[in-house]
């Protein structure tokens, strides 16, 4: 076979009559760091010979000294050097015009970026590891146009990623992650340092190959492989964290002034005395300076037949909320074995162990709401409570609000979660022929989770009232309760595909990929046990040979449905004359989730590209290095939708008659996946010696059959809503990315870049059905802030729905609201059915990122920023009033009084305020996400320590925001309509972190 290749290549070369004596010329091809470049091609036209560099970059070629050797490698500039009899060292420089050489990972293969017709954002490992955060998705915030990342800084939280807008209201909205070929939902188990590339597939042309799982976008993650001589890489950093922004609350004096005014009707003499014994700063009482550290060590390298990569990482964080801790330990081993010239076997394996001690985020809300008059503890050590006696806070008396003591809440929280994720895979690549490759890949994921939550009910009961004594604890109540959870599953994925790649007649470059895939998301087994009155010492909860049935108050033993997918896929990529590009893909998916006759769906796509800069009319235009236009259409599916099996409702017991059974739901037999159709186009360019690069994309994405809950008519007797395909959701937008890189001289280079994306989301139409309104954004005090019902057509998803605030009534200081007819009334005059209106969405219409940096000698410096526009955020913690809680300092000063009637601050009140635009604020913000300053010690490469870089990092050092709360970048439960996304309530503040670290190579 090799001979065939040689002769084939030789034929392509100019036939040259060989005059001199040929000999074996030996040498090594290395990169600028001295690392060998495996696979580099060495060709000598003079000698009519070619050779490949081996895994260390070594090569041998039969040539004459003096023959010109042309050495080339994808991603490097080619060089031509004369052969020498002595062992040669040939250094290749990384290619400057990256787009021409860059390779992007696409589904079931890779593609040179220039030949790709689809919209893919690639983020390299340096970009991901630069920002010192736990989850890689947080690090890409602002770095990929069209990808909106919302983050929470709560330890271990998962960022929400929305790619080109949200197209579904009830279905799953998370993108699919594909980690080294394994489809998965979450990457919290992946050590960011192990990632070599993070690519976001954004348009239908690239996503259709993922069929029913493509609609929310796909994120492809590739982990590292060994290369060159053995290298030990060590990275350590440590950082401190504190809230980026806090809210100034009223102090004791301000609270007294505000509350006395609010209670003036019932307590004309004033409810609270002016001199109070305490003035508590509750946020301060529940928080601490957070800290985190990460240590990684990896060993990697390659020999002729083996590439290896081992890594061990540990991440530990002490959250800012007292007592919250999070730790993750990861281990990874990626190996690649060259079994023969034609067969390569790659294996990867990773273990991650996560241990989390979470604390309830409602403590932030309680700290916000609890009065500063209440002490953390009284002098006798008992927890402070909002009791008042003779106008002064005391251990006895009447309660003046319903807020718990957040310090006691944290002290009595005892919860621990531990999970272990094992992921592993085997991949076989077999070059059957030079142009035909067979790939078989198996991946598996095993997850196991356990959790306990211990509640000391007696201690909580005592802490709620200092006058209580343990002897009086009601005997029919549990002294404590213990909940334990176990959860595990095994998922696997097997794909087999053939890739055929051949150039016909020099101008027809054809690549065809076709394959099959089976995917099983195994039964998720969950066990939940509720127990009461267990031993206070956790060591003795699970004694040997002891039957605890008597303490069990609840037991759930659940097995969630197994889900299977069987798929066929094919892709055709064609390049004509290196200029005209066509890509067609099709995937046929069968899903076990749907009724037998609704199981199979076909998802086609087509993409076109034209590299104009290779046309004669542009190829000589000096400033233009690259200009490519692209266009694509495709159809995608979202199978994360409600179950469509008609179910029996059983366990309806009638005394004496046993268990009853009925059907009290109805299922639309047509229910299946949501279908997204997308038309998109764009262009890429590089000009001015590729110093200015950019791309522009525009898309029109339409979810043609969005699932919403249809409400059966009341007389059907069925109250459970029926999910059905009744809506259409449109996402239209554009994305711009620009970057300027320049090198002033050998010592100084710099870059400036940015991206901007705009998306318009809208529920465009509804079938003639009555929707079961989805009401969301509940504050837990009877007030809701969001809705999706028949009136929502024309609005974006995640729209806020509430009364419009109309200012302060100058006659009495009350808050006024607009009625539908435009008149202003107090809240008692409002009609819920008529006067509420849509007032904007929690989804941003735009987001943007900026990056700039420079390298000067051994110093590197970079700044990344991110911002969003057009979104609203509801100040839920401020609005969640029941009466008697603390208010912000801004509310407690300068409010309306009979002598200050023009104030825009309402008169103090303890009414539960209706949900209104008074609490709805702009979520627009711009934040510097990361500043990095690094210094590379001037060490010679052949030292024992070959590389050492020290750096300092500032994460989220600055923000400009209009929102008066902690953070406009709210993730919360990630539920667009029914949940609390967009409402700052029980939310973790954004953090500012300062990090110092070092990176060493041996």
């Amino acid at each position: 076979m090799k001979n065939f290749i040689f002769s084939f290549l030789a034929l392509l070369l100019l036939p040259t009559f060989m005059l001199g004596q040929t000999q074996a010329i030996k040498g090594k091809v290395v990169d600028s760091n001295g690392m060998g470049i495996p696979g580099a091609i060495i060709a000598s036209a003079d000698a009519r010979a070619t050779a490949d560099a081996d895994f260390d970059g070594n090569f041998t070629i039969n040539a004459k000294p003096g023959d010109i050797l042309k050495v080339s490698m994808l991603g490097f500039d080619s060089v031509s050097v004369p052969a020498t009899a002595a062992t040669m060292t040939i250094t290749l420089k990384e290619a400057g015009d990256t787009a021409l050489k860059e390779v992007v990972v696409i589904g079931y293969g890779t593609r040179k970026k220039i030949d790709n017709t689809s919209a893919v954002s690639s983020i390299k490992s340096e970009e991901i590891t630069k920002m010192k955060v736990m989850n890689a998705s947080q690090a890409i915030q602002g770095k990929a146009a069209g990808v909106q990342v919302s983050t929470s800084d709560a330890p271990g939280s998962t960022p929400s990623v929305v790619i080109r807008g949200a197209g579904t209201a009830l279905g799953g909205r998370n993108p699919l992650y594909v980690v080294d070929g394994m489809p998965t939902d979450n990457i919290n188990n992946i050590n960011t340092n192990d990632i070599t590339s993070y690519e976001v597939l954004k348009d239908a042309s690239s996503l259709a190959i993922y069929g029913t799982r493509g609609a929310n976008g796909v994120i492809m993650i590739t982990t590292k492989a060994g290369k060159g001589k053995i290298t030990v890489d060590v990275e350590s950093f440590a950082g401190v964290r504190s809230p980026l922004k806090t809210v100034k609350m009223a102090n004791a004096d301000e609270y007294v002034r505000y509350s006395n005014a609010a209670y003036s009707n019932d307590f004309p003499q004033g409810r609270f005395s002016a001199n109070q014994p305490y003035n508590t700063d509750w946020l301060d009482a529940i928080t601490r300076t957070g800290s985190y550290t990460q240590n990684n060590i990896s060993v990697s390298g390659s020999s002729e037949n083996v590439k290896y990569f081992f890594s061990l990482g540990n991440y530990e964080e002490k959250g800012i909320l007292n007592g919250s801790d999070y730790g993750r330990t990861t281990f990874r081993n990626n190996n690649e074995f060259k079994l023969s010239e034609k067969v390569k076997l790659s294996q990867n394996f990773s273990v991650s162990n996560i241990k989390n001690t979470p604390m309830p985020l409602s403590a932030f809300t309680n700290a916000y709401r609890q009065s500063p008059l209440v002490p953390v503890r009284y002098a006798d050590g008992k927890y402070g409570v909002p009791f008042i006696s003779n106008g002064v806070v005391s251990e006895t008396g009447t309660s003046f609000n319903n807020v718990g003591n957040p310090v006691a809440q944290l002290d009595y929280t005892n919860e621990q979660q531990q999970s272990v994720t094992l992921q592993g895979g085997l991949k076989l690549d077999w070059d059957i022929l030079k142009s035909l490759k067979f790939t078989s890949q198996f991946n598996g994921e095993f997850y196991t989770y356990k959790q306990y939550n211990y509640v000391d009910n007696l201690a909580l009961w005592l802490s709620a009232d200092p006058t209580r004594v343990a002897e009086k604890y009601p005997s029919d109540l549990n002294k404590n309760t213990l909940t334990r959870n176990r959860d595990q599953y095994f998922n696997w994925n097997l794909s087999n595909y053939l890739t055929y790649n051949k150039v016909f007649a020099e101008i027809h470059d054809v690549e065809v990929t076709a394959g099959i895939e089976a995917n099983v998301q195994g039964t998720r087994e969950k066990l939940t046990i509720d127990r009461k009155n267990v031993n206070a010492n956790s060591n003795y909860w699970s004694l040997k040979d002891v039957n605890v049935a008597g303490t069990v108050t609840g037991l759930k033993d659940e097995a969630l449905n197994e889900r299977r997918l069987a798929s066929y896929f094919a892709r055709f990529q064609y390049k004509l004359m290196d200029k005209y590009l066509v890509t067609g893909t099709v995937r046929r998916d069968g899903s076990s989730q749907f009724a037998e006759d609704k199981r199979w769906g076909t998802f086609p796509s087509v993409g076109l590209g034209w590299i104009l800069s290779k046309e004669s009319f542009l190829s000589n235009v000096e400033p233009i290095n690259l200009l490519k236009i692209r266009g694509s259409w495709g159809r995608l599916g979202n199978q994360n939708v409600p179950l469509n099996t008609q179910l029996l409702t059983s366990g309806l017991d009638y005394s004496g008659l046993g268990s009853g059974t009925t059907i009290n739901s109805q299922v639309d037999p047509n229910l299946s996946w949501e279908i997204v159709e997308e038309l998109s186009g764009g262009f890429d360019f590089e000009v001015l010696n590729s110093r200015l690069k950019g791309s522009f994309d525009v898309y029109d994405k339409n979810t043609t059959n969005t699932i919403l809950n249809v409400k059966p008519y009341s007389t059907s007797g069925i109250t459970l809503a029926t999910p059905a395909h009744v809506g259409e959701v449109s996402n239209k937008g554009y994305e711009i990315a620009l970057r300027w890189d320049d090198k002033i001289n050998d010592n100084l280079s710099y870059w400036v870049g940015g991206n901007f994306s705009h998306n318009k989301n809208e529920l465009t139409s509804l079938k003639n059905v009555q929707l079961n309104p989805i009401i969301g954004g509940s504050l837990g005090n009877g007030q809701n802030t969001k809705i999706l019902d028949n009136t929502s057509v024309g609005q974006p998803l995640g729209s806020f729905y509430m009364y419009e605030y109309a200012g302060v009534d100058p006659t009495n200081g009350q808050m006024l609201y607009y009625k539908a007819d435009g008149s202003k009334v107090a809240q008692s005059g409002l009609d819920e059915l008529k006067d509420k209106k849509y007032v904007g969405s929690l989804l941003p219409t735009s987001n943007y990122g900026v990056t700039l940096g420079l390298n000067y000698k051994n110093i590197d410096f970079s700044v990344d920023g991110y911002g969003t526009g057009g979104a609203k955020v509801y100040n839920g913690k401020k609005a969640q009033r029941f009466g008697g809680e603390n208010v912000e300092a801004s509310m407690a000063n300068g409010f309306w009084t009979p002598t200050n009637t023009t104030s825009s601050i309402p008169a103090p009140s303890n009414l539960t305020p209706y949900a209104s635009t008074y609490y709805l604020e702009s979520a627009d913000f711009f934040r510097i996400n990361n500043i990095t300053l690094g210094y590379k010690l001037p060490i010679r490469e052949n030292n024992f320590i070959s590389y050492c870089r020290l750096y300092v990092n500032a994460i989220n050092p600055f923000i400009t925001q209009k929102f008066s709360g902690f953070s406009p970048d709210v993730v919360s439960d990630g539920k667009l309509v029914e949940g609390t996304q967009g409402v700052e309530l029980d939310a973790y503040p954004s953090l500012r972190s300062f990090v110092i670290g070092a990176n060493l190579k041996f």
Binding site: S440, E558, E596, L657, T715
Partner: protein, 487 residues
């Protein structure tokens, strides 16, 4: 080596192409699919009917809202509780100032249609259960139709003509089924439907005496005749009332009136149809959710919410010596039959004794039963029909039967008009707090005067019927109209 790869590839190809549909057949594990094969047995068939009985234990079907629209609304009961606690809408129902959005009318509508759905699910399922014993299935059909008729009777008494849902609608809904669900039928059509169901039930059901053990709670032939007689009564088909009452056999009045409202008196010789509660300290239990607690004494020394309290007018309506008074009303400051004291500090002067449970007095789920059809009612229905047909002399002994059991002497009246009033009064006292009074005063035309005596304004032409819930009219979108009177 090569062979292995090739066979691997071919094998995995086969896995997907040849058997891919088998591969995709995954048995559900998280919920039971509505596959008739899974319930194709006697027990499976019974389960669908048990679910209908179970519907009568529902909070919306039989508890707080039902108390509002069948009891608090009438002259027998006040809202009760503290003045500041409206119980959602109990104050405006009590004052007859409710409207079409008042929740209790909505919840009663929903609960009965939810029950009717359970009936229709059962009737649709039975033909698919070929492994169930045919005779059993026939009886279950009878029970189902009895309960469907019972629920339509509640609806027609309260709302007037309502949509008749006699089968399961298609999904997505067909135009025909949409009209079925959204179009109100006439009162006569609803009564005709009820009578058809009851006649079917009579054919299929056994006598109460033929039921043994736990099955005693099930609907029987006697229950179907008694309900049919009551349906005739509401339509003033006097002769049919008499005929059907005569077919209710095998029952007798119990000597101790109060015993019927205690655990040991349930399903006694007088009981024709009652809803069975079994007390429980865990949740959910097998009783009517919060039926007892919502009506139990409130405030200092009490243990409940204190709603649906007997009016002074009711308390004063009893003649001296009527044992039914102390069996019906808990008086503040009294001692209950089990020795439990109701201190004089509780919030209201009177409470509903018939809702009381001795063993589970403060639990959400108690052993309190709802007595919907008793033999006493058969006697009074027959008396009323005889009297209306001019056979007053034949009616009087029946009235006296009821009076004697109550510890009273013979009725002093003899004229048709007086006996009519006497029967109405016996009905009031005999069935007080058994969810009958409101419908009875509307049926008999006493409502305006009775409510005036209670200090409330009954608007003739309006209050005879409850408002049709606004939410339904919105769904109907013109296919149905609101009841008259300006709701």
């Amino acid at each position: 080596m090569k062979r292995i790869y090739i066979s691997m590839f071919v094998l995995s190809g086969l896995l997907l192409s040849g058997c891919s549909n088998d591969f995709l057949d995954v048995e559900p594990t998280e919920a039971i699919p509505a596959d008739p094969n899974l319930v194709n047995s006697d027990e499976g068939a019974k389960g669908f009917v048990t679910a209908i009985y179970n519907q009568f234990l529902g909070w919306e079907m039989s508890s707080f809202g039902w108390n509002a629209v069948s009891s608090i609304i009438s002259d027998d009961a006040d809202k009760g509780s503290d003045p500041g606690d409206a119980g959602g809408d109990k104050d405006i129902v009590d004052a007859l100032t409710y409207n079409a959005s008042t929740p209790s009318f909505q919840s009663t509508w929903n609960a009965n249609y939810a029950g009717i759905n359970r009936c229709n699910q059962a009737l649709a399922m039975f033909p698919k259960l070929d492994q169930a014993t045919p005779s059993l299935k026939a009886r279950l059909v009878g029970e189902t139709k009895f309960m469907r008729a019972f629920m339509y009777f509640t609806l027609v008494k309260g709302y007037g003509g309502v949509p008749i849902i006699d089968h399961l609608a298609t999904v997505p809904i067909s135009e025909e089924d949409r009209k079925m669900q959204l179009t109100r039928k006439s009162v006569a059509e609803v009564y005709a439907f009820i009578e058809q169901d009851l006649n079917d039930a009579i054919e299929a059901l056994p006598l109460k005496s033929e039921y043994t053990g736990a099955d005693v709670v099930r609907a029987s032939k006697g229950a179907a005749y008694a309900l049919l007689a009551k349906v005739n009564l509401y339509q003033k088909n006097w002769q049919k009332v008499i005929d059907n009452c005569d077919k209710v056999t095998g029952y007798s009045l119990v000597s101790d009136y109060s015993l019927q409202y205690k655990k040991e008196g349930e399903f006694g010789p007088e009981s024709i149809f009652e809803i069975n509660g079994v007390g429980s300290t865990s949740s959910p239990g097998f009783g009517i959710g919060n039926y007892t607690v919502s009506q139990a004494p409130r405030g200092a020394g009490g243990w409940g919410w204190g709603f649906n309290t007997p009016t002074e007018g009711l308390a004063n309506a009893y003649e001296a010596g009527d044992v039914r008074k102390d069996a019906t009303i808990i008086f503040r400051g009294s001692v209950l039959y089990d020795g439990r004291e109701v201190p004089s500090t509780v919030a209201n002067p009177r409470y509903n004794y018939k809702a009381y449970s001795s063993s589970f007095y403060n639990q959400e789920f108690t052993d309190t039963n709802l007595r919907y059809l008793r033999y006493a009612e058969v006697i009074l229905m027959k008396a009323e029909a005889l009297n209306e047909l001019g056979e007053t002399a034949a009616a009087i002994p029946l009235v006296n039967q009821i009076r004697h059991r109550a510890g009273l002497g013979d009725t002093p009246f003899t004229s048709q008009t007086d006996i009519r009033k006497a029967i109405y009064k016996e009905r009031r006292l005999e069935f007080a707090f058994e969810h009958d009074r409101w419908f009875d005063i509307v049926r008999t035309g006493q409502a305006e005067a009775a409510m005036a005596a209670d200090g409330k304004t009954f608007i003739v032409g309006k209050h005879e019927l409850w408002p049709i819930p606004t939410s339904f009219l919105r769904e109907a979108n013109g296919l149905s109209e609101q009841n008259p009177g300006g709701y």
